[in-house]
């Protein structure tokens, strides 16, 4: 029997131990992925009786999708949403963590202020923000007006603002969550290095640039990975605030997927969108890991 650390138990035991997890993961991750790939090559529309039985149509769902201006708009929105929210949340999360890691007065409170959106359901957060984003008397707008902004105000109804409106809510909700991981990272940094750097006369920015950031690279990798995946899988606020509108201006992949499947009842097309969503997720996470590792190599190699 090959064992790593101890050989207690029977030979078949490890298989039994992983069986429950493996069974659930197979049933709700692996099988559905394969099933979606399979069904994406079929035409199946549940709301039209004659198209209810799946018929094989090859790549047609994919071809139609990439010729559909709405889908292309959704892809573009998704890209803007992810690229717009993830890096900003991470930078602000780091800033928050750094601030509340300083010996400041009342840092317990500020930590709490930053972190509390994490435990608010997204639908609650969005309902509150619905008021802030209301035209005319909404607080976000009155604040902006006070700051001298006189541009358009309808953050959920204006096609140029709606996507920004939902991104703002996601940013507010997530930054405090990511902060926790940076805080953990900062607290685990070796103090000696900083003391030595201070003796060498390194200023704050130099310390951040040459010590803190490189040492927190793993944290950043972890945070950016969960942030990327999170950005693709949370659409609750879109549901509450804009329903993807106006004219799909704030529609993103997962919301679109929900619409196609449950509003239009187009199973074939929805399966194709599922496959595309999975591919986009894989591309994002894998390239994120790859980029991070390459940077690490170039740093030390």
């Amino acid at each position: 029997m090959t064992t790593r650390r101890s050989s207690v138990g029977v030979k078949a035991l490890p298989y039994f131990l992983i069986l429950p997890t493996l069974a659930f993961v197979s049933l709700f991750t692996i099988w559905p992925t394969l099933n979606a790939i399979y069904l994406s090559f079929f035409k199946q529309r549940l709301n039209i009786a004659r198209f209810r039985e799946p018929t094989f149509i090859g790549w047609e769902n994919y071809i139609n999708l990439f010729h559909d201006p709405t889908f292309l708009k959704v892809l573009k929105n998704t890209l803007i949403y992810v690229v717009g929210t993830v890096p900003l949340s991470i930078v602000v999360a780091f800033l928050m963590a750094w601030l509340v890691n300083q010996p400041l007065r009342g840092r317990g409170w500020t930590r709490l202020f930053f972190f509390h959106p994490t435990v608010l359901p997204m639908v609650s957060a969005a309902t509150i923000w619905m008021f802030f984003l209301t035209p005319d008397y909404g607080l976000f707008n009155t604040t902006l007006a006070w700051l001298g902004y006189h541009g358009p105000q309808n953050w959920t109804g204006n096609p140029n603002l709606a996507l920004f409106g939902v991104m703002l809510v996601a940013f507010w909700k997530n930054a405090g969550y990511y902060m926790i991981f940076y805080l953990a990272g900062l607290q685990n940094l070796p103090h000696e290095v900083f003391e030595a750097a201070q003796l060498d006369g390194a200023n704050l920015l130099q310390q951040l640039r040459y010590i803190t950031f490189p040492l927190l690279r793993r944290t950043t990798l972890f945070v950016s990975t969960i942030a990327f995946i999170g950005a693709f899988q949370t659409i609750d606020h879109i549901f509450v605030l804009t329903q993807g509108g106006p004219s799909n201006a704030s529609n993103v992949l997962l919301y679109y997927l929900w619409q196609i499947r449950f509003e239009n009842q187009d199973v074939g097309r929805a399966s194709a969108v599922t496959v595309i969503l999975i591919l986009v997720l894989l591309v994002f996470t894998v390239s994120n890991v790859w980029l991070s590792e390459r940077r690490e190599e170039s740093q030390y190699g």
Partner: protein, 462 residues
């Protein structure tokens, strides 16, 4: 080792049993099969009483009733009250009301439930215009068999306002009956009109001018708009503009739309002009549907375009005289509106007993006295003409003359957009209408694109 082995397997089985079974127990009461059981105690006492009251004691049957709430009125409570009355009359029938959001949400929820393998509702309120989609999905049954059994079938059907029955027939059958029906109306703050010495508008121009005159600015910021046009149901609220311009967006057939007709384009332009020329309305796509009545009632806007179904809620909140009228047309002294709202449908997936019970429930809900009561409590237009002759209604319209005004608006109503593949066609129209409202495309470009895409979406059905 062998002893350990046995124990290990025991533990594992236990773990698996726990992981597989633990969640089962608490979840059980929600499973469909169990639901009927939990209701049994409620129906039991009435069952005992049943034989004494009715000659033919029937088997107990439970039906689900899906309904949307789309207006500012306590619909849920009203429905519960009707169900209680109905159950008292029919002790063997239990009606389970299910609220699932607005019309779109309710439609999606029902389709998802059917799709999820759950028992479908026996009866539901859905948009009158959902007819073709529901037939295409093979989800509903025609009501002819039930209607034919009625001794006074013709009198019954003729009593409904014809405008409300327009969406009920297909292929020579009747598939739905009107329930919560409405029209698009213009609510105006009559006090403000009087103060400003203005008459209610009778044309696009006088409408725009009145809205302009009633807009109040504090420096650069508007403190009261002349008019708000909420963003919910864009096609519906837009239709009166198109009709008032001379061309409805939908024809008589179920596959004909006129999105790119010059008159329709003019109507889009008028919407834009209300903010750009008259400065009387927020620009582009506006606030959400539910917010407009509150804005109007709290005096933040002098007029709103909304459903007549919001009348009751507005009257309760407003401390000024509320005027109700059809939307002015382009030419002087022309007016336009469009009917809307929900009909009652019976679903195919329900058992024959449930369908029979559902029909009884429909008959009950469409009685003149209930149609009248529903109208009084909500502001919806009563679906039947005889409802306006009931005592309750007579008394009510004395007190609230606006209720008669909403009914009389029906005479200006054109046909509501209802075509094959409606979900997709509607989305296409909304998409381009909003792009035009928001100035992303000119009205001409937007409507041409909408027509082209809609024609493609309808091609399969012509």
């Amino acid at each position: 080792m062998s002893k350990k082995q046995v124990f290990a397997i025991l533990m594992l089985t236990l773990a698996l049993v726990i992981s597989a079974c633990a969640p089962n127990t608490p979840a059980e009461p929600t499973q469909p099969a169990q639901q009927e059981e939990t209701q049994a105690p409620e129906t039991a006492p009435s069952e005992e009483a049943a034989p004494a009251e009715t000659e033919a004691p029937a088997e107990p049957v439970t039906i689900q009733f899906f309904y949307p709430v789309a207006v500012d009125a306590p619909i849920a409570d009203i429905i519960k009250g009707y169900i209680a009355d109905f159950e008292a009359e029919n002790p063997n029938i239990t009606v389970e009301p299910v609220f699932s959001g607005g019309y779109g949400d309710t439609y999606t929820a029902i389709m998802t439930a059917i799709d999820g393998g759950a028992e479908p509702p026996a009866v539901a309120v859905l948009l009158g215009t959902a007819l073709y989609d529901l037939i295409n999905a093979d989800a509903i049954i025609p009501l002819d068999a039930y209607l034919d059994q009625m001794p006074d079938k013709d009198a019954y059907l003729n009593d409904f306002f014809p405008a409300f029955l327009e969406n009920s027939t297909y292929d020579g059958s009747i598939w739905s009956l009107p329930f919560q029906r409405s029209t698009v109306v213009l609510y105006y703050n009559a006090d403000l009109f009087r103060e400003a010495g203005l008459e209610p508008p009778n044309s696009w121009q006088s409408w725009g001018e009145a809205a302009q005159a009633l807009t109040v600015k504090d420096g650069d910021t508007v403190t009261r708009w002349g008019l708000e046009y909420p963003s919910g149901w864009p096609y519906w609220l837009f239709q009166p503009l198109a009709i008032g311009s001379g061309q409805n967006i939908v024809g008589e057939s179920d596959t004909e739309v006129y999105f790119d007709h010059p008159d329709v384009i003019e109507a889009v332009q008028f919407y834009i002009d209300l903010s750009h020329v008259y400065g009387a309305m927020p620009e582009g796509v506006q606030g959400v549907w539910g917010q407009a009545p509150t804005d109007f009632a709290s005096g933040q806007t002098a007029m709103i375009v909304h459903s007549s179904g919001s009348l009751r809620g507005i009257l309760e909140q407003a401390d000024f005289e509320v005027g109700v009228m059809p939307l002015p047309g382009q030419e002087p002294d022309t007016y336009a509106s469009v009917p809307g709202g929900g009909n009652l449908y019976i679903f195919k997936g329900a058992s024959p007993e449930q369908q029979d019970a559902a029909w009884k429930f429909i008959e009950f809900l469409t009685r003149p006295e209930y149609a009248a009561d529903f109208s009084i409590q909500t502001g919806y237009i009563a679906s039947r003409q005889s409802a306006y002759e009931t005592e309750a209604m007579q008394a009510y319209v004395q007190e609230v003359p606006q209720a008669l005004a909403t009914r009389d608006i029906l005479q200006y109503a054109g046909r509501e957009l209802s075509v094959q593949n409606l979900g997709e066609v509607r989305n296409i129209f909304h998409n381009y209408l909003q792009q035009a409202y928001n100035g992303e495309m000119t009205p001409e470009e937007a409507m041409a694109a909408a027509q082209q895409e809609a024609d493609a979406a309808l091609a399969d059905f012509r």
